[in-house]
């Protein structure tokens, strides 16, 4: 579904990703782990098309598309969804309005008729029940004054409604207590299906106790330096990132 080859990305002229390779197929869940500063968020932002993240080399294929040629909105309409680590506040714009605008933009791309207010409300209510969310949420301004947990819930709600093909979650577990973490994990597990690919970007292993990935990648200094199964994540939890970096250094010397 997504194929990243030799990706180089600079920010303000400084290279952050230096030849990153990574492939994910439909039906899989991959975790990308790495210490702070390894390039995790740069990868996420570059895949979503954020301005200022300059791709200097490499390619990214997404389905049949050259992802790097697409605007952020085109990527979204083709089914790529980024769950933000820090969802942004949009004052004065209600969740209901925001969701409906986003959903209709995506439906239009898919050649589906736009949903009217009634059908839309029916859909949203059903999804909110699934998430055990109160309906009053809909009239609140997007993320404004939300707690950390509410912001994550809002990202999950969008994910459920927009039904993306490729989901990238940027540190979905950051700042959550154990109940909220389990809720996020359950929601991700429910999204798993043979047509969908999920990328979890995380610093810690704890989320991976609940969402068991098919593949774990370790990112260091802008490259994937090691890949393995879920066991790799547990090793990282136990031994930290130091041993991997030492291994990489040893390889470079050799």
């Amino acid at each position: 579904m997504l194929s990243v080859k030799n990706l180089h990305v600079t920010i303000d002229g400084k290279e952050i990703l230096s030849g990153l390779d990574f492939d994910i197929k439909a039906g899989q869940v991959h975790a990308i782990m790495g210490p702070n500063g390894s390039g995790k968020s740069t990868l996420v932002q570059a895949l979503a098309g954020r301005e200022g993240y300059v791709v200097t080399d490499g390619s990214v294929r997404y389905l049949k598309h050259d992802l790097l040629k697409m605007t952020p909105e085109q990527r979204s309409r083709e089914g790529l969804f980024l769950a933000f680590q820090y969802p942004v506040e949009i004052p004065g714009v209600s969740i209901a309005f925001f969701l409906r605008t986003a959903l209709n933009a995506i439906r239009k791309q898919q050649g589906l008729p736009e949903l009217d207010a009634i059908d839309f409300l029916g859909l949203v209510r059903a999804r909110m029940r699934q998430l055990d969310m109160d309906e009053s949420f809909l009239s609140r301004a997007v993320n404004e004054g939300f707690s950390g947990g509410e912001k994550k819930r809002n990202e999950i709600l969008q994910m459920l409604i927009l039904e993306p093909k490729l989901i990238i979650l940027d540190e979905p577990d950051s700042g959550l207590d154990i109940d909220a973490l389990r809720f996020v994990a359950d929601s991700i597990n429910k999204m798993r299906n043979p047509q969908r690919a999920i990328v979890l970007v995380t610093h810690y292993q704890r989320l991976l106790d609940y969402v068991v990935p098919d593949v774990v990648h370790v990112l260091s200094q802008g490259r994937i330096v090691k890949s393995g199964d879920a066991e790799l994540a547990r090793q990282l939890e136990k031994n930290g990132y130091g041993w991997i970096e030492a291994e990489v250094a040893a390889r470079q010397v050799a």
């Binding site: 301005e51 979204s76 933000f84 949009i90 714009v93 927009l162």
Partner: protein
């Protein structure tokens, strides 16, 4: 000073009061003549005058004439269309064309017992003494108030007696049409004890008209009265509008006055509120949305004379093109006004590098035990917000419109009257790229 700047002094304006409503009512003529003298003595303000530092009104003095139409204009088909379509169902509609009441276009409808909704011109012509005190010099806030006292052609007089709730809003529609050069509307709104009313003033003009409108509205709230007042400025791009809204509040009364400024080439509103009784609430909201070379200035002044009053000001501006916005918020807490709680906020969104805002809070506090806060910001659309919206499939133009809408909605959502709120939302969205799409989604 060049002769050209002062060219209005060469117009034969002294005779104008003799040609207007109430010319054979002695108090009216006297009031007009003395007001004109005050205007003539002072002349138009110059930019060296601190209160007019950012707003240049010398173009008004160079106009062909400052005299209002004496004879009511025949309303154009555009004007008729506006009168028939703008007011909401059941509203008490009074229409004024170039400052003259047009009974044919108006639909006052059924009023609760004792409520008066009348044409000021008629009261002046009939020699009624009732409006006299409102023409007193004491109410003149700027020299434009003096000019309005001298040249007011008409307007609405609204009287809601004690304990009466006027359910449907009063809708005052002012249309600048045809050859209307100088237009002087004057409204007087009196809310009795514990009465309630909603008053909408809507100023419309056609695209080509270069009118100068000088509009004054006076509001008088008795003890416990509750009034929501809304002024919409939607005049043509060549128009000049200098307005004044002047309110006095008795104890425990509540006033909300909104100012929505979208039209005009040059606009200014002076809004003053005198809190004379204890425990009043006063809220001043405003939104100016400007483009091209539009200039809009809001000068507000809230005088806290009595104890335990609450005042709130929420003003926002959205400025594109080479437009210029001015906000000056003066709050004076007079000696003895303890327990005052005053808050003021002015936030501005600049959409263009050429747009400009001057914002100035002015707090003067002469009492103890008061709470006064203010905040002002000038910023641009946030890149993080734009990316967040785009990452949800919303294209960049629409995302910008959504963000501007969200910013402005902070003010629009404060309008209590639902149909009016929708109308203003649409006014705003009509000016934004893909606004139609946003409308459909609201």
């Amino acid at each position: 000073m060049s002769a050209q700047v002062e060219s209005w002094r060469n117009m034969n304006l002294h005779h104008v009061p003799y040609t207007l409503a109430g010319y054979d009512t002695p108090w009216v003529l006297d009031a007009r003549i003395s007001a004109f003298e005050r205007f003539f003595q002072h002349g138009f303000p110059a930019r060296r005058d601190e209160e007019w530092k950012y707003t240049d009104v010398t173009s008004i003095g160079r106009r062909t004439t400052l005299a209002p139409d004496i004879i009511p204009a025949e309303p154009s088909s555009d004007a008729k269309l506006l009168a028939w379509t703008l007011a909401g169902e059941g509203m008490h509609l009074m229409v004024f064309v170039n400052g003259h009441y047009d009974a044919m276009l108006s639909t006052v409808g059924n009023l609760p017992h004792g409520v008066r909704l009348e044409s000021l011109a008629k009261l002046l012509d009939n020699g009624n003494r009732f409006p006299e005190k409102f023409f007193d010099q004491h109410y003149e806030h700027t020299v434009f108030s003096s000019l309005n006292n001298a040249f007011a052609t008409g307007g609405a007089v609204v009287v809601v007696p004690a304990n009466v709730v006027l359910e449907a809003p009063v809708y005052l529609l002012f249309i600048a049409s045809g050859h209307g050069e100088a237009i002087y509307p004057r409204n007087i709104i009196i809310a009795g004890e514990n009465s309630q009313a909603t008053i909408i003033e809507h100023y419309m003009g056609t695209l080509d008209i270069h009118n100068f409108t000088n509009a004054i509205t006076q509001l008088d709230l008795a003890t416990g009265a509750r009034v929501e007042h809304c002024k919409l400025m939607q005049e043509g791009p060549a128009a000049t509008h200098i307005g004044g809204i002047h309110a006095e509040q008795a104890a425990a009364s509540e006033l909300t006055t909104h100012s929505f400024a979208l039209g005009c080439h040059l606009g200014r509103n002076d809004i003053t509120v005198k809190l004379q009784g204890r425990a009043c609430h006063s809220t001043l909201n405003g939104l100016y949305m400007l483009n091209e070379r539009q200039h809009m200035d809001h000068h507000t002044q809230i005088d806290h004379f009595a104890e335990n009053c609450v005042s709130r000001e929420y003003y926002r501006g959205v400025l594109d093109g080479a437009s210029h916005g001015v906000f000056n918020g003066k709050v004076i807490v007079h000696a003895g006004a303890y327990g005052t709680d005053a808050h003021q906020a002015n936030h501005n969104l600049l959409l263009s590098r050429l747009a400009e805002v001057d914002t100035k809070p002015q707090l003067e506090i002469f009492a103890d035990d008061v709470k006064c806060t203010h905040g002002a910001t000038v910023g641009q659309l946030g890149e993080d917000q734009l990316f967040y919206l785009r990452s949800r499939g919303i294209d960049a133009d629409l995302a910008r419109s959504v963000m501007i809408y969200g910013f402005a909605n902070d003010i629009i959502s404060r309008v209590g009257e639902a149909s009016l709120r929708t109308h203003i939302e649409h006014m705003l969205l009509d000016r934004l790229p893909q606004g139609e799409l946003v409308k459909g989604l609201l």
